[in-house]
Symmetry: D2
Subunit: 367 residues, 4 copies
């Protein structure tokens, strides 16, 4: 990852600030001949879009994506695809206070210290709006994956929100799309809604844990030692705004297990090797096994809350910050489609990398 670019062969460079004229993604290295159009990408953007439900910010951005290059007569040409989203809801306002004050828990102070200046309007480059560009690029990656890995399915969902946790015994893969929380435990839904309302009323916010699964990815994706699939997934998820932890399979809990508990035994199935469990999260030695690839990440609660917090101004004066405006009490909800997009980009990138170095498909046979 190189400042604002990620990916080896499928390279995504995002650009743009929250309140500038536009933001977008410059995608280089996409295979040619992928059928794609603006409506197809818009489908994914609409899932991330604010103002969709009562649980997310009421900032109304159509987030309409335009394809400016790299697509001709409905197919990618192999040249860079420019995906642009214009910022239309730039309410004129007085930024004087924000310009002079550092919001606690925000990038305001670090941007100021590093660069000596910052675009303070709406968080500028550090705004979660940047993730719209990722979702657009992820939509393109999904279109390419449809041809390259036909059985692949990528799905993200919330597993925790503050005090609420899903009951994995009730896990329902098909229920995820049907609710505002992307939650696989629909029985718990009313409780989650009530909880989030209480957080909002308390002028507070809350963190979340998201799990993203890639089902049906072929074995052999990834590479030793620094180009590992899990390394790139960890980087991809940690690069999302507000993410503070990333886990593969057992994740941090692996520290508490013994070798007999943790090892996934291997048996021979009808189609090839099978595993009795998936503590590994589908990755061994940095390379996919063919099992579900399971990534989990934690999103911190947004610091943009109505409860006053102590801070300082650019001249070092103590102050109190209350962040008014349109903010999600749980930004983690909208991180679900972003995590999916990053998974799609990483899987595609590693499919291309594998094909480049090794050739089509796994090279080893078993049985």
């Amino acid at each position: 990852m190189s400042l604002n670019t990620f990916g080896h062969l499928f390279r995504v460079t995002t650009w743009g600030e929250s309140h500038g004229p536009a933001l977008g993604a410059t995608v280089d290295g996409c295979p040619p001949g992928v059928p794609v159009d603006e409506a197809g990408l818009q489908h994914w953007l609409d899932r991330r879009r604010p103002g969709q439900s009562k649980h997310t910010t009421q900032r109304k951005e159509p987030d309409a994506v335009r394809i400016l290059s790299g697509v001709f007569e409905g197919q990618t040409t192999g040249t860079p695809v420019q995906l642009m989203i214009e910022n239309t809801d730039q309410r004129s306002r007085d930024y004087g206070e924000i310009a002079r004050t550092f919001r606690p828990g925000h990038a305001d102070i670090t941007y100021h210290l590093k660069y000596g200046l910052r675009d303070y309007r709406g968080g500028g480059r550090s705004s979660a709006r940047e993730t719209a560009a990722r979702v657009a690029a992820g939509g393109l990656a999904r279109a390419a994956l449809a041809a390259l890995a036909p059985g692949l399915e990528i799905k993200g969902y919330m597993t925790r929100m503050g005090e609420m946790e899903i009951d994995r015994a009730r896990f329902d893969w098909d229920a995820i799309e049907g609710n505002d929380f992307w939650m696989p435990d629909p029985q718990a839904l009313p409780e989650w809604e009530t909880y989030l309302q209480s957080i909002r009323k308390a002028q507070n916010s809350v963190g979340a844990e998201i799990e993203v699964v890639a089902r049906g990815a072929p074995p052999g994706l990834g590479a030793p030692v620094y180009g590992k699939l899990d390394t790139d997934l960890a980087a991809a998820m940690m690069s999302i705004n507000a993410v503070k932890g990333v886990e593969i399979g057992e994740g941090m809990a692996a520290a508490g297990l013994t070798g007999t508990e943790n090892a996934d035994e291997i048996v021979m199935g009808a189609q090839g090797p099978e595993y009795t469990t998936n503590h590994a999260g589908g990755v061994l030695g940095g390379i996919s096994t063919g099992q579900d690839i399971v990534v989990r990440f934690a999103v911190k609660p947004t610091s943009s809350i109505l409860t006053p917090r102590r801070s300082i101004t650019t001249d070092g004066t103590a102050t109190e910050v209350v962040t008014k405006g349109r903010h999600d009490p749980c930004v983690g909800i909208r991180a679900v489609p972003v995590g999916e997009a990053m998974m799609a980009c990483v899987i595609l990138d590693h499919l291309l990398l594998h094909r480049g170095q090794v050739g089509d498909g796994p090279q080893g046979r078993i049985g």
Copy 2:
């Protein structure tokens, strides 16, 4: 990260297999004029070296590092530094069974599937021996950091080993170096030793959690959006063998917090801004704040255990695997100096990146 290379400007490429003639690190982009010699690097390698204590593998490798290039009259010249460690303890043995069998929880099967062949001797490229090269490179990074970030201190330690966890109320920074576990809670030491003996006797292994702290790093390191300091740290740690989770600051626990609990308030101190807490782990918006940079990672228990596990052979036949030989019951112990090395490399890399794009030191002033 590009297959076997990590870093933007301070670029480390490791090479070599567990039982080949040698392994090492090719380090490109080191600043010139850094005083360094083999003895100085050996200091760090000796900390990681097996056979040091009763808790780690008894494979006796001197792990002697040789500097083959890039250093002249005791100083780096700015050209690539080749750090080579010869493999001396290559016991001749019959590898027939290992060649035909996939150890559960190991990269055996994924390397086989991906590449169609694998160096099965001692794990080949997927062996933890590769981390010796990282530690050598980390030693060089520390030497460079001594000049570039004089007050910087990097320290790793174990915070968990299976059922054992440190009591943070008894945290003692200065006790870490004095015990076999790099453990900051010396009072718990006897209990940890007894526990690990019981794991070993049970022919089992156990996972671990390691925390690495960089104290005294300047603010301003890192960059939006994919070149974030925490993104690169997550990638660096996840690339270490057997690591399954990475956390910055609060890490996964951030999912359970509210905004009022999590935000680090800012106050003006004598030297500049200070923070009342460090939930962020020293990184905001991907850029260092000047606080302690806190990274945590989990190492899974090694699958190389004497307890039989089910697996298959290359021709798909069911078999049982018992991994004899010299293996650590807790590989996490030796991951401590590796985590430190990765921290050193990442911090140096971002210091050079910052200097390249922005110039020396933070550009913004407060107060």
Copy 3:
């Protein structure tokens, strides 16, 4: 260089096709605090713009550049700068014949073979219009260089056009800006004009040789062995459309010289080392000496001519191609500002690289 990106730290990714909605440059890694606005960049674009003189294509594109990101209140912020140029002069026409025919000497056939499809409108991605994005990025690089290398001057000019060559005895640095050919030998101007008219009348085109000089660059830019300044300059120039050769200093003529003729002797001057000659073109061992950096490149004559040439169609049928439309008889003229832009980007990139690895300015002293 990575498909559509060049540069190490100052990274320019260009995107867009000749007849798509827009094209542009995504510039990552620009130092913060650089004063820049659209008018300042437009100055450079206007020099490259078609329709400026009777010698260049009459396609009338305003080539107006818009800054979509990375600039706030007149200064760069250190985040990606998106420079977009909308394509306004997309005459509707019948592309049927062009779609089915490969123009000789064009990328039509190789794009078709490689990708299986191509955007045939006006050359698509292979059009010289792509260079407008380079000129915009080069304008940004120049703005950054104004602060980082105050005395630096970058100037390009034609040294040859078909049978016409400049007389170096009459070389006039200050005359370059004053004529349509960027020609440093104004006395030859009438002859060049007559010659080009005859080429045009003959429904033909002609090649050109362009020299670009960077005067006042500090010593120490570049790096062994693959990050050499001259390596990057050669790549930068060879990446420009229609360029077939690149020379540094003596260039290809060095093959004909002896060691006594070629070596630049060193003497001590008032300000430091001086060189009696500059056969090296300002680069020794890949690193700048502080002398003029001299690069020369050859642009082939465009194949878009009115004289019929034999070719084939996509179904393999023999045909004849006559390229009607608005084409320059000497595309080399408009390559001058493009070469300057590439020089600016490479010099800035190496200044940042040097500062990153080594620190500000040369580290060695003489005398």
Copy 4:
């Protein structure tokens, strides 16, 4: 190209100084399953090796290459291949004068200025000995190409040496291997030998022009706009020591041609498209056509001559430099196998890149 690394997927990092313990190449990204051994690589190194004929330096280095990693049971494993060449002929000598003096035309002064120190023994990193590592890596690339591009043939030869030029009318592809000059015009051989003896007797040196041809490369290699095949070839050749110019096809002479003269007409042949001429040198729009890929480069005469030249010392004092010792009167001779090695690496790299992004082979059909 990134300081000491070149290549996108087949990445070669060379390391080592002329008079250090060893030098070598770390090759990452090689396809697995490539049959390779030390003897096979040695074949190519022996062609470059000094002391082979009366025309090259009498420094006697066996230049024996060792494979330290990435090869198992005679095949590459897909992990990094470390190729090491130990420096055995390190004559002990007094370097005092060389340490204090800058040789004109050498990198001595620029390394000193840039880094503040340099390994002055035998030129250190800037020595032509570095090219031995390229030739080793090129041997590995050739082994991989044998499987991936079966009909491919890569051959380099001299076309000029000072006043001597080959007569292309007598060009004999099969005669190249049979003489000390890699010269395709054997009739001119006696004259060349006499000329080079006169240069040597005059205590002088002379430049050379080398042409490298890849015959039988598939169409479709390369990519717009900065990952062009010719861009990467130009960079590869310009990165070789002492190279001052690079040409593709017509090269610099394209500046003197008209469009009717330069365009390669296309006709339909039995196997697919054919071209009546090859002015383009096998590359259109940065992508290979399937014709011979033709690269030419000029090597300057070495500045290491016995004729005294004016220079200065590190303290700025005027001095005269006479370079005694073992030096080639025409270093260009030994640049032939180096140019071939670079061609092999670039072709392989682009084959892998193409396979990664687009899939196996050209995607478009004609006829």
